[in-house]
């Protein structure tokens, strides 16, 4: 049953084609968003159907295993949630809405394929498929002045191109060392070379593309401007799906280097510390909520890096768990941003004031998302940090974990600032209550329950993640 192996990819391709046809037919409005939602739902079903598939395709460059299937499920699930959440597409020009869905689906296709790619050139091709689609989408934004979104789009292209170039350069080092581009063959040779400068440099440079996708130091610089410049819908996408894909690939690539602590590990330690600290400190002074979330995503990339560099099964599995939780918490925040900005504008702290009087459901959704990202139990954010830190301490990274905990405490301040604006401020102002559909409230409640339930019952997701990474190590 070769078809079952790539069922999600096939359904996604069909969805892309249908959306393309829809764009030719100028189908718009509710019909269009329904097509997109049904398409995303079908791919989600496809990932569930093919969840236990395993095998290799295309000259063994394409591997279907536990990790790829879990990541595909997360990717398609997130895409589905984003399409539901942003049904109205209030921040996208009418004539661009077709293309918005088309390119996001195309980008998702690239990411889905990337999670199965086990050969370096295949990985790069998939990466480019996902990136090119995004380059286009970023500039779609409703509004008078088109400066910031064009600036964002140009920055994303330039940074993306630079990151790919650096990656290719690193790839050439790795190829030079190991004479192969297949990950399984590289991983047979690489662990004993990990103290050589060439291997360390090659690996670090090669990872740059994925650092870029994950918004990890030193490839983080695009994040705040793109978050701010792109429409709320696009930012929701950029903040979630590419990071899932990047995390999956980083797990594959970092696990190639073996579980020992080498020079390469220490490079990652430094990057993790810088990423956390820089992200958190910069986020403290932001006023635009999307910029704040951008810097916080840099910090979260640092936390995930701790799980990666631990190199043990627990740490790697925790990364998958963490990214899944991070997506839920991010969606919670973006849901609020999306629905208090009916015309797709950016949100500042001033707009959050007194939100709990305007809409208690949105207020609580934001609070749970923010507390979750700050790592307060009983949310998934806490459990993720807890498991990642447990993995790191198993390897003896005490100092790193203490730095990460201090960072978590720093980050609590700006997340709390959001909760404060929502609950403490704006008491005296006249506020209009938000008119929200029943569906939005259900969606908010779903996110709240998911963030808390996955947090207190991590066993299910962690088991899947554990099995997924067990095969790699």
């Amino acid at each position: 049953m070769q078809v079952m192996l790539i069922l999600p990819e096939l359904v996604l391709i069909i969805m892309v084609l249908v959306l393309f046809a829809a764009s030719l037919k100028k189908i718009q409005g509710v019909a269009l968003s329904n097509i997109a939602i049904v398409g995303a739902l079908l791919t989600l079903v496809a990932t569930v159907l093919s969840c236990s598939a395993s095998g290799t395709l295309f000259a063994e460059a394409y591997q279907i295993d536990g990790l790829s299937q879990l990541i595909k499920f997360l990717l398609c699930g997130t895409l589905f949630l984003i399409f539901i959440m942003c049904r109205s597409l209030s921040g996208i020009e009418e004539e661009m809405q077709n293309e918005f869905y088309l390119f996001l689906s195309l980008s998702s296709l690239g990411l889905v394929m990337m999670s199965s790619a086990v050969e370096l050139l295949t990985i790069l091709v998939c990466l480019e498929i996902s990136s090119y689609a995004l380059y286009v989408v970023i500039s779609f934004r409703r509004g008078e002045g088109r400066r910031s979104e064009v600036e964002a789009a140009v920055k994303y292209v330039l940074f993306g191109a630079a990151a790919t170039g650096i990656s290719l350069f690193g790839l050439s080092y790795i190829f030079g060392l190991t004479h192969t581009t297949y990950l399984n063959e590289i991983s047979a040779q690489l662990p004993k070379m990990m103290d050589q400068p060439m291997a360390v440099i090659g690996m670090v440079l090669m990872l740059c593309s994925f650092f870029y996708k994950l918004a990890m130091f030193p490839m983080h610089a695009w994040t705040p401007d793109i978050y701010q410049g792109a429409s709320n819908e696009t930012t929701t996408f950029i903040a979630t799906l590419p990071k899932i894909g990047a995390a999956a690939l980083l797990i594959r690539l970092v696990s190639m280097t073996g579980s020992g602590i080498s020079e390469f590990t220490w490079v990652l330690v430094v990057l993790a510390v810088l990423s956390m600290t820089y992200g958190n400190l910069a986020a403290l002074v932001q006023d635009d909520i999307k910029r704040l979330l951008a810097y916080s995503s840099i910090a979260h990339a640092g936390y995930m890096m701790i799980g990666l560099l631990s190199g043990n099964q627990l740490g790697m599995a925790a990364v998958i768990y963490y990214i899944a939780g991070y997506v839920l918490m991010n969606l919670a925040c973006f849901l609020v941003i999306y629905y208090i900005a009916p015309r797709g504008e950016n949100i500042t702290f001033a707009d959050l004031k007194g939100l709990y009087r305007r809409s208690p459901v949105l207020a609580f959704t934001l609070a749970v998302g923010a507390f979750g990202m700050a790592g307060i139990p009983p949310t998934v954010g806490f459990t993720g940090k807890f498991i990642i830190f447990t993995g790191a301490l198993e390897k003896g990274f005490y100092g790193l974990v203490v730095i990460a905990m201090v960072n978590a405490a720093i980050s609590a301040f700006y997340y709390l600032k959001m909760a404060r604006a929502v609950y403490c401020q704006g008491d005296e102002d006249e506020l209009q209550s938000l008119q929200l559909g029943f569906g939005v409230k259900v969606f908010g409640a779903f996110l709240i329950i998911a963030i808390i339930l996955v947090g207190i019952m991590p066993q299910g997701l962690m088991n899947l993640a554990d099995q997924a990474v067990a095969a790699l190590l």
Partner: protein, 534 residues
């Protein structure tokens, strides 16, 4: 892991500890469906009362002769990390669980009129708070403990942030960040202990032998979290802000239960897991406790806001608790635990009284609330009783607790005993000052010159206690005198556990030096000299 040897599994017909944990949580969820305000209040009260009734077998069926953890339940939770859902109570935690379930109905009752917006959310938050607090005291798993410990921050933050006073913005953030920063290292300690021993099970963690350096790290990481929570000088500054801005129910929860978690943490983590480090640090902690007692007392003496005064008095009272804990002898520990219960009842009562007067005069300034003796005599009578209890008047509950702590202090070192006594005198000074101003006319004469009309019209405006208010204070007063006159039942319950704890300390850290307290001050003195001459 032979977990059963530390536990006596629950033999009651229902899982009592899980029940009292779940009833408030389920109640909180159901409360979201109720729209009518009056029904909401009654529903909230019912849930807390049901929880109280359900928790009573903890008192009546408690086995006094064992230090094992009773009513225990054990279920697999997260096998990948060998995490279990394991709950149980011993002689120390059972009292705190009972205190929590006992105080919560008062939190709903005292908000009957005080909370006039977002009542549904208030009932929800209060019930979630109750579950989290109970969870902290019954958890026998470090991760479970930490989850409840931190989860409590969110409802408490919301209590202050939504229903707080004028500076709620500042107070809620300060409370949250202060306590959060304290507990980040607690998590590192918890995971580090797991890496070392392979278990999160608290009783098993107590049974290990760690090197002294390791104990010091664990002790310091945990002690910071608990010292902030309790709060001990110099980490007390969040408390007055939070107390003053919180609504009455928030203040009562803070004073009666939240502060006890610091003391409980010391007893559950620091003492048994790091006994050698505890003995090493004992002098410093005794010194800090003494500073808390005297410093809190002095600050209370200078306050004009009634709530602030009681908040600072809490710092002093909690100083007695930490002093008792770190005396590391039988009387000290028992006194400390009893004092935690007493403080919960007395200070909870005082905050309820302040809330009542605030509902009437809309001011918490002593000057605006003076000369009430003639106007609302019943109120003033009960205020007097709680004030006397707070200053440890013989016959009231606090007297027994403070007496035991002082007895322990004198046994440890005469100097420590003598240094603690001014705290007791200061308590009398600030409480009597409060009483005198509030009950009789202010002798300064200038107190109400800016709002003369309002003050003189007290007799027309103010009504004495209603039935609801009266029933609250009568119940609390009953416990004030019951513990004051017949504390034996409580002391019996904690006896076996305290003896066991002392055994753990003496086995784990060699026998404590009987004059260590004295040394402490000498060491502190030489340290101060060093700093001064630096």
């Amino acid at each position: 892991m032979h977990m059963e040897k530390y536990l006596i599994l629950n033999t009651l017909s229902y899982p009592i500890l899980s029940m009292i944990l779940m009833v408030p949580l389920v109640g909180a969820l159901i409360s979201l469906l109720i729209k009518d305000e009056q029904r909401l209040k009654i529903f909230g009260l019912l849930v807390t009362l049901v929880t109280l009734v359900l928790s009573l077998p903890l008192f009546t069926c408690f086995d006094l002769h064992t230090a094992k953890y009773q009513f225990a339940e054990l279920r697999a939770w997260f096998p990948l990390l060998k995490l279990n859902y394991v709950v149980g109570v011993d002689g120390i935690s059972v009292l705190l669980v009972l205190l929590t379930t006992f105080i919560m109905p008062f939190c709903i009752l005292c908000s009957w009129r005080y909370i006039n917006k977002r009542l549904g959310a208030f009932i929800f938050v209060t019930l979630v708070m109750e579950a989290a607090m109970i969870g902290v005291f019954i958890s026998l798993n470090t991760v479970l403990f930490y989850i409840f410990w931190e989860a409590m921050l969110i409802p408490m933050f919301l209590l202050i942030a939504i229903w707080g006073g004028a500076r709620k913005d500042y107070a809620s953030i300060k409370f949250f960040l202060y306590t959060l920063c304290g507990s980040v290292f607690l998590l590192v300690a918890i995971v580090a202990l797991y890496i070392k021993t392979g278990t999160f099970f608290i009783p098993a963690l107590m049974d290990q032998e760690y090197s002294f350096a390791y104990q010091m790290w664990i002790f310091l990481a945990c002690a910071l979290a608990f010292a902030i929570k309790i709060p001990m000088y110099p980490f007390h500054t969040w408390l007055p802000a939070a107390h003053v801005e919180a609504p009455t129910a928030g203040s009562v929860i803070l004073a009666s239960v939240l502060l006890k978690m610091g003391g409980y943490g010391f007893l559950r983590f620091c003492l048994p897991m790091a006994p050698a480090a505890t003995i090493y640090c004992m002098p410093y902690l005794i010194a800090l406790s003494l500073i808390s007692i005297i410093f809190g007392g002095y600050l209370a003496l200078g306050q004009t806001d009634i709530k602030k005064l009681i908040a600072y008095s809490s710092v002093g009272h909690m100083g007695f608790v930490t002093l008792g804990i770190f005396l590391l002898n039988d009387q000290g520990l028992k006194g400390a635990i009893l004092q935690m219960i007493n403080h919960g009842i007395t200070t909870g009562g005082l905050f309820i009284m302040v809330g009542m007067i605030y509902e009437r005069t809309h001011s918490r300034e002593i000057a605006d609330n003076s000369a009430l003796g003639m106007v609302i005599p019943i109120y003033v009578t009960f205020l007097g009783i709680f004030c006397l209890s707070s200053l440890a008047f013989p016959g009231t509950n606090s007297f027994v607790g403070e007496f035991l702590v002082l007895l322990g202090a004198f046994k440890r070192s005469t100097l420590v005993g003598f240094l603690a006594i001014p705290g007791a005198i200061l308590a009398a000074a600030y409480m009597l000052r409060l009483l005198q101003r509030m009950v009789w006319h202010d002798s300064d004469g200038h107190a109400h010159h800016h709002d003369e009309n309002e003050a003189d019209d007290h007799s027309h405006v103010l009504t004495d206690l209603s039935f609801r208010e009266l029933s609250m204070v009568v119940v609390l007063t009953f416990f004030v005198f019951w513990i004051g006159l017949y504390p034996a039942p409580l002391l019996n319950i904690m006896d076996a556990s305290v003896t066991h704890l002392l055994g753990q300390i003496s086995v784990g850290g060699a026998v404590a030096d009987p004059h260590a307290g004295h040394h402490a001050l000498l060491e502190l003195g030489s340290w101060i000299k060093q700093v001064m001459t630096f």
